[in-house]
């Protein structure tokens, strides 16, 4: 047992750190560190910078243009980029559809889509959830009927997806669609790649409780999708979907981000007066921060235990469900304490400031202004990606054998 990083890992860390110092634009960094909302261009900018360095796809093998880093390297990368205030790479292309295409796509699909994911020429979104099928994903109803006529073979898609994150920016959507109704509900699902500019697609914003436009409803009304956009075989989509979900859950602990947010919380609470001292010096508040910090310390080690056990590129095990639960609880608790720290300055809702249309917030407390919206937004964390209750079911089934 040795909890120290080895020399190679430390060297890698300093290489990453100096790259970020030189290449992360200040305006982006400031937005991220201060919980402001990022535009499509903000995301693309950082993506492009990383692409130039060959580091945009840490988990991809080299033959497809990835960085082929070890799990520990990826952990270091995540920790350093998030600590510095770099935006997340939008994961739909790099972490979700990319690995699925590499594993199950045909040569033409790989050749065409993978380079476009790396270069961010295509922004992808995910068409999994439906209004009637949340955690019970396999209940999906969006239908795709295979048609062959003089113009060739295609699927005619009808139905609705929901909670489609950043679909308003997307060029492509990967969708689970129902191609057969006869068997078990997991059978009869297929995996389609659909151009968002196809006639018959309507994207309607869902404005969330923090008055943000992050998610959407996507409607399909007789949308024609060329048959060559089917991934793998018809009716085998559930297999590919599960493969994708297991990749979605990599780096689910978000330790780097939470460490950054903990430091932010402490600076914030130190800068916020209370009585003759600061909020952080109030023993009741300090106690809450300490309990959370201990939880995060434990999560960091737990995460490293899981990460370092994953020597190959094997699928993450069911332990990842534990990382999801604790990771999201820590994230949520951090946002709660930030709001508590600023007290009355958590009240204003300043969307113009949040979206960068105004430089300073209406109260002048710029660090405080985004925090309540941020708290509200993070209630999603224990719901998305398989709710934390679903994760507990996975722990029970896969680890405890109940």
């Amino acid at each position: 047992m040795n909890l120290e990083y080895d020399a190679q890992e430390l060297e890698f860390r300093s290489e990453v750190r100096s790259f970020i110092d030189l290449n992360l634009p200040d305006d982006l960094r400031a937005k991220v560190l201060n919980h402001k909302r990022l535009s499509r261009e903000d995301y693309r900018k950082w993506h492009t910078i990383l692409h130039r360095r060959g580091w945009v796809a840490p988990n991809w093998p080299r033959e497809y243009g990835g960085a082929a880093w070890t799990p520990v390297q990826r952990h270091i990368w995540e920790e350093e980029t998030t600590r510095a205030g770099a935006p997340n790479i939008i994961s739909f292309g790099i972490n979700m559809i990319g690995p699925v295409l590499m594993e199950f796509g045909n040569a033409a699909q790989k050749d065409y889509y993978l380079p476009r994911i790396l270069s961010c020429e295509d922004w992808w979104c995910q068409g999994y959830s439906e209004p009637g099928a949340g955690s019970d994903l396999a209940s999906l109803k969006t239908s795709a009927k295979r048609v062959e006529d003089e113009s060739g073979a295609y699927y005619l898609v009808n139905g609705q997806k929901t909670w489609t994150t950043l679909a308003q920016h997307a060029d492509m959507i990967f969708c689970l669609v129902r191609t057969d109704n006869s068997g078990r509900k997991q059978q009869g699902i297929s995996f389609l790649l659909i151009d968002m500019r196809s006639p018959g697609i309507t994207v309607r914003p869902i404005i969330t409780l923090d008055e943000d436009h992050e998610v959407n409803e996507v409607f399909f009304d007789d949308v024609r999708v060329p048959a060559e956009n089917l991934v793998g075989e018809e009716n085998r989509g559930w297999t590919y979907a599960k493969y994708l979900l297991s990749h979605e859950r990599s780096n689910v602990a978000e330790v780097g981000r939470s460490k950054r947010e903990l430091a932010f919380l402490k600076r914030l609470a130190m800068a916020t007066p209370s009585g003759d001292g600061s909020v952080l010096e109030d023993p009741l508040f300090a106690r809450k921060v300490a309990l959370l910090e201990a939880e995060l310390m434990a999560l960091e080690i737990t995460n490293l235990r899981v990460v370092s056990a994953d020597h190959g590129n094997s699928e993450p095990g069911p332990e990842v469900s534990m990382l999801k639960i604790v990771g999201t609880e820590v994230q949520q608790r951090l946002t709660e304490l930030m709001v508590e720290a600023v007290g009355p300055y958590g009240l204003p809702l300043d969307v113009d400031f949040l979206e960068g249309r105004r430089e300073a917030s209406v109260t002048g407390h710029d660090a405080a202004a985004p925090l309540t919206a941020h708290y509200l937004n993070f209630r999603k964390a224990s719901i998305y990606g398989g709710s934390n209750e679903i994760q507990k079911n996975i722990i029970n089934r896969m680890i405890l054998g109940l």
Binding site: N2, E9, V72, K266, A286, A298, E319, K392, N396, L402
Partner: protein, 380 residues
């Protein structure tokens, strides 16, 4: 970075597991608890034969010079067996003596051979968890030191051959400066011990010191400068009990899981009910999070960097303390009425988990220590 056990550690753990299964089963333990001494000479000899007593002693003094990771493995196994012998008290005593290794070579050699049992008499009635709060006094009389005072809830104090005693040379009661450490034989004139059972099957003693005389050679470290030693050994002790608690919690989890799979109600195993399943998943998470912190504490338990050590150790005491409480309580609830009976091992696991932090500092104490470190308000 490496979280795996070495081959030696795995072997040690397996050997120890075989020994506790065979020689230290639940029935055997119950007999020992019920005996007059509350500990077993035979079991002690067994631990000695396994090399466990030599483990923490330096190699130069016939020991094995165990690392924090080695002790992590041992304490987990002993936790699982709910060992009531004065092992941890002796190991912590050894840790004190190592600060003056040359002077105490004989005692350390004796500890390694299993002929010397030690206890650490630090706590006093008013001190609660503050080891610097020392009212016991020491004055010099010729070439001897004379100790007066009362030490309370000294774990295995009456079973020890020698006690490590803190006493104040100078300063006010709660000063960090002015504390000395002495090794006092259990049969010293003027020393009396009130031995009692503790709720978790262990033994503790209150120790009265009335003009107890020890030679100068009995002092550990420089006069009045014992605080850094006491602080370091307390942290080491915390790391050990964290590892022990993780061993217990792992066993509690396995026992409870087993029970959920076999106990039937409403025509199905109770483990089929989702409300119980989710509580079980919570237990699993508690145990894994606690294990991580215990590993962290073990890895820094001997660090010279006091700030780093305190941060990790108090963090571990906080997180493991929370887990110990929750896992213990949940296990009893999930067992239902049967968990309330003294016949069940789970009840004894629960009792031991309940005492977590009672001597080494509870969650609140370590939160206060954690938040008062300079790095807390001014990170990075």
């Amino acid at each position: 970075m490496d979280f795996t056990s070495t081959e030696e550690q795995t072997q040690l753990s397996e050997t120890l597991g075989r020994w506790t299964d065979k020689e230290y089963g639940f029935e055997r333990r119950r007999d020992i608890i019920g005996s007059l001494d509350g500990v077993s000479a035979q079991a002690w000899a067994g631990l000695s034969d396994l090399g466990l007593l030599a483990l923490p002693v330096p190699e130069a003094l016939d020991g094995f010079g165990a690392s924090g990771a080695d002790m992590f493995v041992v304490m987990q196994a002993l936790g699982k067996a709910l060992l009531v012998e004065p092992y941890m008290a002796t190991v912590c005593g050894v840790e004190f003596l190592k600060h003056d290794e040359g002077r105490f070579a004989d005692l350390l050699g004796g500890a390694a051979a299993g002929t010397v049992r030690l206890a650490c008499a630090m706590g006093e009635e008013q001190s609660r968890f503050d080891r610097f709060d020392v009212a016991t006094t020491v004055r010099t009389d010729g070439d001897q030191h004379v100790l007066n005072g009362r030490k309370t809830v000294v774990i295995h104090g009456a079973q020890a051959d020698h006690l490590i005693v803190s006493a104040r040379v100078t300063g006010d009661r709660r000063d960090h400066e002015g504390i000395s450490l002495f090794v006092v034989p259990g049969n010293a004139n003027g020393l009396s011990r009130t031995d009692y059972r503790t709720i978790d099957g262990m033994r503790a003693a209150d120790v009265d010191l009335a003009n107890v005389r020890v030679p100068d050679a009995a002092r550990i470290g420089a006069s009045g400068e014992a605080w850094p030693i006491i602080d370091a050994v307390s942290d080491y002790s915390c790391a050990l009990i964290c590892a022990e608690a993780v061993g217990i919690m792992q066993a509690v989890m396995e026992t409870t899981l087993d029970y959920l799979k076999t106990r039937r109600q409403f025509d199905q195993p109770i483990g089929a009910f989702q409300s119980l399943q989710h509580r079980m998943a919570d237990i699993f998470i508690e145990v894994e999070q606690a294990r991580s912190m215990a590993m962290l504490a073990a890895s820094v338990s001997k660090s010279e960097d006091a700030a780093k050590r305190r941060h990790a150790v108090s963090g571990a005491m906080i997180r493991v303390g929370q887990a110990a409480r929750r896992v213990g309580e949940e296990a009893i609830q999930l067992h239902g009425g049967i968990g309330m009976t003294n016949e069940m091992k789970v009840a004894h696991y629960f009792k031991r988990l309940t005492t977590f932090g009672a001597v080494d500092g509870d969650v609140d104490y370590h939160v206060t220590r954690f938040t008062s470190q300079p790095g807390f308000c001014y990170p990075d």
